[in-house]
């Protein structure tokens, strides 16, 4: 009976140790993102998909433009990320404006497919006397792989397009200022899917031209790692320990107590 108790206790200890290990490793993994934007922030925005200005996550880009321009930025999003595009419009001076204006930010993936926003103020109307408009769009989780028929977000280049959609004609072409910032949160292993793209959805991947600047600073993730490894391995170990515990319970100390020693 004592053996059983010892076994059980060691089982529990091992389980606790494993859990602690999972916790720390998970946390360490989640801490991956670093916030240093060493390269100079872009001060221009592109005017089409082809000319979009490449920015990195957490890099604040600015642009001087005219109301009515279509401003494009491109950013890389990798497996397990949930990017949020923030766009701020500094409107032209009140005196020059004649009415309300409606602003909108749209996000497209590397195949120029429109991407849905899970939440965020994608479109907003600014009153005539407003100074700024703030827009945001949070994408769905970027998955490692999806069926070709789905338009789930896949790792690769994303485009953010900022423009005015509703404007009094008199207000067209006034000088404005735009800021764009893409942040991202980690979705964790619960969203890790099987399969991987051979190449991220980066435009021009097949022609090996351009697009180098639009890769994440530390390269694309290979996608094989997720916290599911820890859960599964931990579960396996715990299951094995529980098995030993169960065995000990029914098997007893090795031999029935009424059997005399030496039989």
């Amino acid at each position: 009976m004592r053996t059983t108790r010892v076994l059980l206790r060691s089982c529990l200890l091992a389980g606790a140790a494993l859990l602690a290990l999972t916790g720390t490793a998970g946390a360490a993994f989640a801490d991956g993102g670093d916030g240093d934007d060493k390269s100079a922030a872009p001060t221009e925005a592109g005017t089409s998909f082809r000319t979009a200005t490449a920015i990195q996550l957490d890099q604040e880009a600015t642009a001087e433009a005219s109301t009515g321009d279509y401003l494009y930025w491109s950013f890389p999003a990798d497996i397990g990320q949930r990017p949020t595009v923030h766009a701020t419009v500094k409107l032209p001076e009140d005196a020059a404006r004649h009415g309300d204006s409606t602003w909108r930010v749209d996000v497209y993936d590397g195949l120029r497919r429109h991407q849905a926003c899970r939440f965020g103020a994608q479109s907003r109307t600014a009153a005539q006397d407003a100074d700024t408009v703030e827009l945001s769009c949070t994408l769905r989780t970027v998955r490692g792989w999806s069926e070709p028929w789905a338009n789930d977000p896949l790792p690769g280049t994303y485009y953010a397009r900022l423009t005015v959609t509703g404007l009094k004609a008199d207000d067209l072409g006034l000088p404005m200022r735009a800021e764009a910032l893409v942040t991202s949160s980690d979705a964790g292993g619960a969203t890790a899917v099987d399969g991987a793209l051979a190449e991220p959805l980066v435009p021009g991947a097949g022609t090996k031209s351009q697009a180098a600047s639009s890769a994440p600073e530390d390269g694309w993730a290979s996608g094989w790692w997720s916290s599911r490894w820890l859960w599964t391995a931990g579960g396996g170990v715990l299951g094995a320990l529980a098995g030993i515990g169960g065995y000990c319970l029914t098997r007893g100390s090795g031999r029935p107590s009424r059997v005399p020693a030496g039989v």
Binding site: S48, G68, R113, G166, V193, G204, R228, C248, T250
Partner: protein, 439 residues
């Protein structure tokens, strides 16, 4: 077998990641060795019509503001840009419309600017005095001729600065701009209106819209110089120039496309077909955007469809939208399985199965733009088609990453099942011991 497959896939992805990592360093270094891109050509077109005399920009005349802006721009022009200056309405004082509408002059020919060139150009600009008519349409035609040459990769840009609408109807400058853009010489026209009235604004923004350019309304000198500098710099940005192609009405006559970016024109409601050969183990990625380069009705859409030569649809991308827009775009991807994949072999549709034969995929681009009857339907809307052929991804065999588990339910289940198995195992071994003892 599955494990080996997985391992191989893992190794491949790792390799892909490595090559991608190398790739980021590669092209940047390769850029220096590659043959230089053709230098972009920019022409500044300045309205020198009589109305430029008006003193309403920061207390100075519009002409003075323009001259000051030109001086600053000429100093700041990047060396690789070939810059020219053309004037309109600079020479003819008279009232004869016919003569007045021919009044356009190439003040400084399109060339790379050295120090002397900059000074010459500035001197030439300094001599200008507000004079005549506003022949925007004819000037744009001439300006496009100035920029034309044999190089199909060169990007070209016209920056039109004007303070009044065209006085040489019926040649509509907006139609002119659209025609020039449709010639496929990668020409963008950006327009700037100096203290514009409603008509000028409509016309200039129409010209910009027709060529994918931008329109700016200018009320201060610094705005003018800042914007023109920005536009000239923009021309200097290296961008992949698309290749002109012409899609056919049916797949059998369609042009064969490889990886690259293509442009075409498509009328309202027209269907255009292209063909792409996809090898087994390759993935076709196609993205298309159709531009709204004129006034169109509120609702619109685009459909990109990939089908086999026999007409079976493989995959489609579609998008619809409403309201103000520059383009509407969509895309699709079609990974073609390896030829030896026996389960997925039926993708080949009847024909010879597998044998590493490339499959011809027909791409159909159609749009559902419409326009009021007053809007001209020719030339068609600009279409940009990006085609990429890359390695196909490996198939996912499970929804979860490597089929692994996640979460407390998994742990609980494993523990309970493990525990029960242990109980049974202990009981069995106890039973066997008892059996052994009785025997």
């Amino acid at each position: 077998m599955i494990t080996r497959h997985r391992l191989a896939a893992g190794a491949l992805t790792l390799l892909a990641a490595l090559t991608a990592g190398l790739g980021t360093a590669g092209p940047a270094a390769a850029d220096d060795d590659e043959p230089a891109r053709p230098s972009p050509k920019v022409e500044l077109v300045l309205d020198v019509s009589g109305s430029m005399r008006a003193r309403d920009i920061d207390g100075k005349s519009r002409m003075a503001a323009a001259k000051q802006a030109f001086n600053e721009v000429l100093d700041a022009t990047p060396d690789e840009v070939q810059l020219g200056i053309r004037t309109l309405g600079a020479n003819y004082h008279g009232d004869d419309r016919k003569t007045g509408c021919k009044d356009t002059e190439l003040l400084y020919p399109v060339a790379e600017l050295d120090q002397a060139g900059r000074t010459d150009a500035k001197t030439a600009v300094a001599t200008l005095a507000p004079t005549g008519w506003t022949p925007i349409g004819p000037t744009l035609l001439k300006a496009a001729d100035d920029l034309k040459d044999d190089n199909e990769e060169r990007s070209r840009r016209i920056v039109l600065i004007s303070d009044g609408e065209d006085t040489c109807q019926p040649l509509d400058p907006c139609e002119v701009a659209r025609k020039i853009a449709a010639e496929g010489i990668h020409l963008t026209i950006d327009t700037l209106g100096l203290v514009p009235d409603a008509k000028t604004r409509d016309q200039l923004s129409c010209i910009a819209e027709a060529t994918g350019g931008t329109y700016t309304s200018v009320r201060h000198t610094d705005e003018l110089s800042g914007r023109v500098k920005q536009l000239v710099d923009r021309a200097a940005d290296p961008v992949a120039t698309p290749v002109a192609t012409e899609g056919a009405a049916q797949c059998s006559d369609a042009p064969q496309l490889k990886s690259g970016v293509y442009t075409d024109r498509e009328k309202f409601g027209e269907h255009r077909w292209y063909r792409v050969d996809v090898e087994p183990g390759q993935e076709l990625r196609a993205a298309v955007s159709v531009g709204a380069d004129r006034a169109v009705n509120r609702d619109y859409g685009v459909l990109l469809r990939a089908s086999t030569e026999h007409g079976r649809e493989i995959v489609r991308g579609s998008e619809a939208g409403d309201g103000r827009t520059d383009v509407i775009s969509t895309g699709l991807r079609y990974p073609k399985p390896e030829a030896d994949g026996d389960i997925d072999g039926d993708n080949d549709e009847g024909g010879e199965s597998g044998e590493s034969a490339a499959e011809t995929v027909c791409l159909q681009v159609s749009n559902s733009f419409s326009a009021p009857a007053s809007v001209k339907t020719t030339p068609g809307l600009p279409v940009e088609l990006a085609v990429d052929l890359v390695d196909a991804p490996d198939e996912a065999s499970d929804v979860a990453s490597f089929g692994l588990g996640n979460g407390w339910w998994l742990l609980g289940t494993l523990i309970v099942v493990g525990f029960l198995a242990g109980l049974v195992w202990g009981w069995v071994s106890r039973w066997r011991f008892a059996v052994w003892r009785t025997n």
